[in-house]
């Protein structure tokens, strides 16, 4: 019997579904569910982690990330403006900074700030300063490039309109260009925030007091007392608690701006009025 092309495609697709179903069935029958539960879902261990995993670890992760993001955003904006400056040395400095800190592991920066700087300069940062500086210094390198792209994506006509109304270059930047640039780059900035959330785990290198634990350190500590993957699973889920809404927010913002290059949230009529 001769099958048409469409019928053959249908049979082929059916075969793939059948294969997947068989694999799933074999796995389900062959797996030692008791063993898996002991390894991953030990409810006693999970219960012992509460409420500290939320009130201490999750809270600290949020605080560390927020500090690093705020500092990184401010420094990134300065770097972006330097990169667009007509003063050549500013551009060189910004380029060197961005290339360097984008190229080295964030862990190195944490080590440098927590051990290197105190040894070299007799300067001791508290934990909040360290995490803010380390996350911010690295984050700024990434955000600077994003912000620069956003500034350059603001339509030229907006700048001309502002200048024709008598606004100086600086006034135009502050009143028109930067507010619009940030609307354009909200989605990529949200991604940056997700990356920083995960990078905040690198703070473990410093050696933390119990009340300073963030999620990863908290998970490791629990793990060393209870031989099960449960603690890792629990803190992993806590990260998702932060990053999934952020990811959703990022996609929502992207949809709202419609992916069009020059559009702003306002052009879809959903914007917040200033």
């Amino acid at each position: 019997m001769a099958l048409s092309k469409r019928q053959r495609a249908k049979v082929f697709r059916g075969a793939q579904y059948a294969l997947l179903a068989v694999i799933a069935l074999v796995l389900a029958l062959a797996a030692d569910w008791g063993e898996i539960q002991r390894a991953f879902f030990n409810l006693d261990i999970a219960a012992s982690m509460f409420p500290n995993v939320i009130t201490v670890a999750l809270k600290n992760t949020l605080v560390y990330t927020a500090l690093g993001f705020a500092f990184g955003l401010a420094l990134g904006l300065v770097l972006a403006l330097m990169k667009l400056s007509s003063v050549a040395p500013y551009r060189w400095i910004a380029t060197i900074y961005i290339e360097f800190f984008r190229g080295v592991p964030a862990l190195l920066v944490f080590i440098a700030l927590s051990f290197g700087v105190p040894l070299a300069f007799q300067l001791q940062f508290d934990i909040y300063s360290t995490v803010m500086l380390a996350l911010g210094i690295v984050g700024a390198a990434y955000m600077a490039e994003t912000i620069r792209a956003g500034i350059q994506a603001v339509p030229k006509g907006q700048i001309e309109a502002a200048r024709s109304l008598g606004m100086s270059q600086g006034r135009t930047l502050a009143t028109v260009v930067i507010p619009q640039a940030f609307r354009i780059i909200l989605p990529p900035l949200t991604n940056e925030l997700i990356l920083l959330t995960k990078d905040s785990s690198l703070i473990y290198i410093i050696g933390l007091a119990r009340e300073q634990y963030e999620l990863t350190k908290f998970g490791r500590e629990t793990l060393s007392r209870s031989p099960s993957l449960t603690p890792i699973l629990v803190v992993g889920l806590c990260y998702l608690l932060i990053t999934l809404p952020l990811g959703y927010l990022s996609r929502y913002l992207e949809r709202r701006t419609g992916g069009k290059k020059i559009s702003t949230p306002e052009s879809t009529g959903l914007g917040v009025s200033a």
Partner: protein
């Protein structure tokens, strides 16, 4: 040609030249606009008419020549161009409303930040100008919620809110749907009737004929012909003006160019 003239002349352009790299767009332009006069600039695309207009508030830096607006020489390197621009309103082909601000804030932002007007005063002036263009009820709308014609009228009101002495219009109706052109031209005509000094780059020959005191025809970076609207549009003397007008006014009866 002494003190009497200098107070009477709003815009004085002499020997204006502008090149973009090797491309010479303006090759020596002399234009003067008297106070209260409406001057329309017509000509084929690429003739330099928009560049001329953009030189008047120095959005384009002239390569040579002199521009004096209200007795201030803008081409003087030490001129405070930001201060001078507050007196020169500009309306763009693409409206260029600030897309992150609502209509009212579009009209007040420069008043507050540049002219340092009090918020209440800026708002009062903004609403008065919105009323002038017939859009007072749109004060709270975002630009993207308005039609092109409405956006352009808001842009005119925004420029008027700075109390300019001169208004520049750069093809203000070229980006509009045909049925919206009339609204904008109506506002411009009303402005002209109120005695505003206007320099208008346009393709609207009927508007130029009815409203302009003077029409300039530009081609190839020169002012080819200049005179009263009825004469330049109704009875052009130069061959290039004639062929341009024939193409614009009666496009269906023209063979391909050359």
């Amino acid at each position: 040609m002494s003190t009497e003239v200098s107070t009477d002349v709003a815009v004085e352009i002499t020997g204006l030249k502008k090149s973009f790299g090797p491309l010479e767009v303006l090759r020596g332009i002399d234009v003067s606009v008297r106070r209260g006069e409406v001057v329309c600039v017509i000509g084929p695309s690429g003739s330099g008419k928009s560049t001329l207009l953009r030189c008047v508030n120095l959005l384009e830096e002239p390569t040579g020549g002199k521009i004096v607006v209200n007795g201030v020489e803008l081409t003087d390197p030490d001129c405070d161009i930001d201060a001078a621009r507050t007196k020169i309103g500009m309306v763009f082909q693409g409206f260029n409303l600030f897309s992150h601000l609502n209509v009212l804030n579009n009209l007040t932002v420069a008043q507050r930040k540049v002219l340092k007007r009090k918020p209440e005063e800026a708002q009062r002036i903004a609403l008065r100008n919105l009323e002038r263009v017939g859009l007072a009820e749109k004060a709270g709308a975002m630009p993207a919620q308005l039609s092109g014609g409405q956006q352009q009228r808001v842009a005119i009101a925004r420029a008027l809110s700075m109390d300019p002495d001169v208004m520049l219009f750069d093809e203000p109706t070229s980006a509009l749907d045909p049925e919206l052109v009339g609204d904008v031209l109506g506002v411009m005509r009303q402005l002209a009737d109120e005695g505003m000094t206007m320099l208008v780059v346009t393709h609207e020959m009927q508007f130029a004929r009815e409203v302009a005191d003077k029409v300039l025809f530009m081609d190839g970076g020169y002012v080819v012909e200049e005179g009263e609207a009825a004469q330049v549009i109704g009875a052009p003397r130069h061959e290039r003006t004639k062929s341009f007008l024939a193409r614009v006014l009666d496009p269906t009866h023209q063979g391909p160019r050359d």
